[in-house]
Every structure is written in structure tokens, then in C-alpha cells.
Symmetry: C2
Subunit: 330 residues, 2 copies
């Protein structure tokens, strides 16, 4: 295993040290492993907290900032953060209007965020959770009961975050976050496995002629193994899976997401095929993102996430955002 690390035990701390050094807009609590906005909580604004295992960067820490999250809790690589982190983060972003937890549907994350929410409630901080479970590939898997939470997490964080900036109530921010999740679907494909530093070897094996369809973001098994094929065919498998679950029509927000090791050039090749597929179905990607946003360390592969937009969701997507990982608007 060749990785650009100092030791397998210090990867999260060392990466947080780098994040702190690179981004003056963030305040990193190294002891508790929490990434906050440096500006602190804004009185009257709903606070947004997310978190999950490390190794998916820029998710979640890279999405802390104006218009998205107030804090992110990174666990060890591919391991849920602990309730203590979540409690500390929740209290730290509470500006009097309550806190939204955005939780990807993995058993450990769900359990720990539930415990944290309950304990925060006991201390007088109102917490509501939005569960993200957009991945149509598998029902139940190695780490999940039900569907996994993947690319739509970015959509929920961006859109709920934009609404929170307007001073909306916790109930409204949560309702909109859930609406985004319900309108979103994802499917991922791996060309190679990834290597978790502490494991030191690939999470699974794929031959030079195989790909894994319906992969999760931890290298957990997908739907099926298949022969490697043209981008056109692979994208069609992903889009058919999404379209079978929620027929694609109208105005969409589309993410073509790299798993970490795939060249941007190839992601654009995939995006071209996604756009062609949508045209066939009479749908249009009126907003899109192409790049590494919800990654799995060095895995080669991609995922597609679609979200059926409304006028309101489009407006919130377009709203100003200033985070290390996502930034636009005036």
C-alpha cells in the first residue's frame, strides 16, 4: 500500500490539521475532531450538522461554510463518528433555533446520531434529523438496513443549508431536506476497489475485465459484478436503475460524482452519456455538477445522482454558497 500519509493511526488528525491550515474560514477542533465555521453560530439560524466516516472528502468537512453546514464530524476512515463528537458539534452550532442532523443511512451513523440527538434534547437543544437513503442499488447491505445514503447527501446539505440561511424554522428546513432526499436517486459503479489505510489492502478484488455495479461508498458489494464495457453501456445500467425506481422527467439536478481515483476527463465522458440518456427520456439536467464530491478514497468509478427539481429547490440550489468544496453565487 502506497499512500501519502504519515501513519495509519494519524490519517484523520493529520488531514484535519491540513484542513485547518488551508481554510481560515473554518475552525477545526482537533481534540474533538469537529470542523466548524470559524464565524460561529448565528443567533436565530437553524444549525446544520452532518458527519460520517472519513475517506469521502470533500464530504462532509469540505461542505462547512455559508449556505451549507455549520459543523461536520469526521469519524475514522469508513467508521461512524461517536455521539460525543456529535453532541459537541450540535451544542457548538446551536444559535437558539435548533439543529438539523443530516445522517447518511448507515447503521452506525444512524445509531450514534440518534443517541446524540436524544442527549442534546435532554440538555434543551432541539434536534431534528433527516435521513438520506438515495442509493437504489441495494435494499440492505453490509452496513445498512434499507437503502444507503450517498450522493444526495450533498444535495440535502446544500439545499437545506440555503434555506437555513434565510432564517427558516427547524421544521421547514427539515421538511425541505426530506423533500430533497425523496426526490433524489443514486447508483454507483466501481472500476477498482479502494484501500483503507488501516487495512492496507484493497477492500475487494476485481480483475482487469470486471466492474462492480451498484457499489456503495465504502467498497461494500454492489448488485452484481459485470464485464467491463463502454462508458455508454455502464452509464445506461446506472440510469436504468434510477429510472426504474423513479421515472426521470422534467427538470433535474444531476451529479456525476467521481469515487476519488477517476480522472475528470472520464467523468465528463460519463456526463455526456447521462445527458444523452436524459434526452431520450424527455428529461433535462438544468443544473449539474461533475467532479469528486462523495468519494471512496482512491476507488476508480463514479456515481450518478438525480434530483427532480421544483422552482423552490432550484432557487435554493442556486443560492450563494461558500465552502471549500462548493462555492458560487454573489
Amino acid at each position: 500500500m502506497k499512500k501519502l500519509i504519515n501513519s495509519v493511526d494519524s490519517v484523520v488528525t493529520d488531514a484535519l490539521t491540513g484542513i485547518a491550515a488551508a481554510h481560515p474560514s473554518l475552525r477545526v477542533d482537533l481534540d474533538n475532531k469537529i470542523i466548524f465555521r470559524a464565524s460561529g453560530p448565528r443567533p436565530g439560524k437553524v444549525g446544520l450538522v452532518s458527519g460520517g466516516g472519513s475517506g469521502h472528502e470533500p464530504l462532509h468537512g469540505g461542505f462547512v461554510g455559508y449556505g451549507m453546514l455549520d459543523a461536520a464530524c469526521p469519524g475514522e476512515v469508513f467508521t461512524s463518528p461517536v455521539p460525543d463528537q456529535m453532541i459537541e458539534a450540535t451544542k457548538g452550532v446551536h444559535g437558539g433555533a435548533g439543529v438539523l442532523h443530516i445522517v447518511k443511512n448507515y447503521t452506525g451513523d444512524v445509531f450514534n446520531f440518534e443517541m446524540a440527538a436524544e442527549l442534546c434534547g435532554d440538555e434543551g437543544v432541539e434536534v431534528v434529523s433527516v435521513l438520506v437513503n438515495d442509493d437504489v442499488a441495494v435494499q440492505d447491505s453490509l452496513y445498512t438496513a434499507g437503502r444507503r445514503g450517498t450522493g444526495a447527501t450533498l444535495f440535502v446539505e446544500k439545499i437545506a443549508g440555503a434555506l437555513a440561511e434565510t432564517g427558516a424554522s427547524l421544521a421547514d428546513v427539515a421538511r425541505t431536506g426530506r423533500e430533497v432526499n425523496e426526490r433524489s436517486r443514486s447508483f454507483g459503479v466501481a472500476l477498482t476497489p479502494c484501500t483503507v489505510p488501516a487495512a492496507g489492502k484493497p477492500t475487494f478484488e476485481l480483475t482487469e475485465s470486471e466492474i462492480e455495479l451498484g457499489i456503495g461508498i465504502h467498497g461494500e458489494p454492489g448488485r452484481t459484478r459485470a464485464a467491463h464495457a463502454e462508458a455508454r453501456e455502464i452509464v445506461r445500467v446506472a440510469m436504468d436503475a434510477i429510472n426504474d425506481d423513479l421515472p426521470l422527467s422534467g427538470d433535474l439536478l444531476v451529479l456525476v460524482n467521481g469515487m476519488g481515483g477517476t480522472p475528470l476527463m472520464e467523468l465528463y465522458i460519463a456526463y455526456a452519456e447521462v445527458a444523452a440518456y436524459l434526452k431520450e427520456k424527455g428529461a433535462t439536467a438544468v443544473r449539474s455538477l461533475v467532479g469528486n464530491y462523495v468519494t471512496s478514497l482512491d476507488m476508480q468509478g463514479f456515481s450518478v445522482t438525480t434530483c427532480s427539481l421544483t422552482e423552490e429547490l432550484t432557487r435554493l440550489w442556486d443560492a450563494r454558497v461558500e465552502t471549500p468544496g462548493l462555492r458560487w453565487g454573489r
Copy 2:
């Protein structure tokens, strides 16, 4: 070779099709293989054109937009674009104030851009070129006489682009572009080779315990092969090489650039070591970027680029930019 492509012959066209579909702010001329701003040339503004082999995305096409380039010419993978592309791009962005060519120092690129500039001159379009040669690793190499142009290309494109938006003259924009190059130094390290689609196999071989120091962005040989080591040590080799060439002091702009296949988490680990090194030297990264900006397909590794800032260069770096690959400001 497993790549997310349709065929080795169509990678550039297919990627351009995806770029066109994903970014309404761009106009892609598929026949001539040129990425333009959709808004067209602005009368009185100096036009900026760059280009080079494909496989380094987001460089250059991802840097077309307000505050950076007016057009980019992608060649085949790791192959210079041809003079016809450059001529078409140059004429297409000429708004009456002349055109700046930003050229990475590779023999093919230099030769072709020179020919294009001459032919444009014959047709009455004034062209001035800025040569980028920031890589301290090697003097002369497989593709270059003199030093290679790498990460500083992004700095030159951003800062010269910002100045051009203010209505500055071609001479001034060129002078500032050259100043940025002169103040910039880079050094890259590969943990793995990359695979060019048409070749179908890695550009070189590295064992599980070896890394290549001073690598270029095409998988061309570096300074030396070394044993894989901690991030701390590897970063020190890179920073020492830069510091030996141009002692690091004062306020710096720093890019920790991923070669395409390295997880963002590892780039932040490297950035932490860069920041620690700079502190030792009494220098400070007052502006920084961490991510995949000047890549080599799926290569794992990173490069560091430093630029010694002035007040003027800092102001231009901070100026609004709106491109697919770089975006900030109001």
C-alpha cells in the same frame, strides 16, 4: 486497462461533449476542439488563450470563464494541440486588444503556439506569449528543453485573467503573467504511474515500495526514484527542492495539487506538512488551494507550487472568477 471511456479514439471528443452539456457558460466547438466562453469576446478586453494535451483536467478547459481564460485548445491525451486550433481560438477571442497565449514549456506546445502566433500576426491579430516553466525538478526532459510548465500555469491563468478583466493592455497582462511565472516554483511526486488510453498500459513501472521524485505531468521520468516514505519526508524533499531554487519567505500563494488519483484526504495531509515546513522557514501561505487542478489522468501523487505574492498579485488572485474549475468572489 479499465477506463470509463467509449473508445480510445474518441476520448477527447466525448469529454468535450460532456463539458458542453455540463456547462452552459461555455461554448464548445467540437469540430475544431476549442472551449470558448459562451459570452464571446468582450470588445477592448485582452483575450487569453491556453491549451495543451488533454488528460490534465480541469486544466485548461475548466479554467475558461470570467476572470480566467477566454478559450482553451485541448490536444489529444498528452499531445500538443495543433496550430489550426490555436489560430481559430485566437481569432475567436480577439476583442480588438490583442491576445495572450499562455504556453506550458513543452517542445510541441511551444512550437505550435509560436507558429499560430506568427500566422495570427500576419492576419492582424497581435499576439504575445507567456511561457510557463516553473518545475524545478529537471532541466531538460523527455518533452522539454529547459524547465517544464506545471502548476504555475493555473496561477498565471488566474492572475493574468483577472488583470485582463480590468481592461489592462496586452503588454501589461503579459508582463504580469511573466512576473507570476518568475515568482513561482513547483515540484511533483508520483506514487503510481498513469495510463494513457491509447497506450493501454502504465507510462512507467513503480514497485509497491518505490516513488518517483520530480515527476512531470505526463509520467515522464523525474529526478530520481526513491523508497516510499512518510508524507512528512516526501513533502520535505519537494519543499527543499523549491526552497533551494528560490528561498521561501514572506507571503505565498500555495497549491497542493493532486495528480488525479490521490484522495483529497491525503492532499490535506500533505498540505499540513507544507504549512509546517513554511513555518520553519518563516514564510506563510496566505492564499492556498488543495485539490486536483493540474492532473495526469489517474496518477497517484501530488505537486506543490508556490508563488511569492505582492499586494498587487494578491488582489488579482482574490478577484472574482467564474469557471467550472475555479470560482469565487462577488
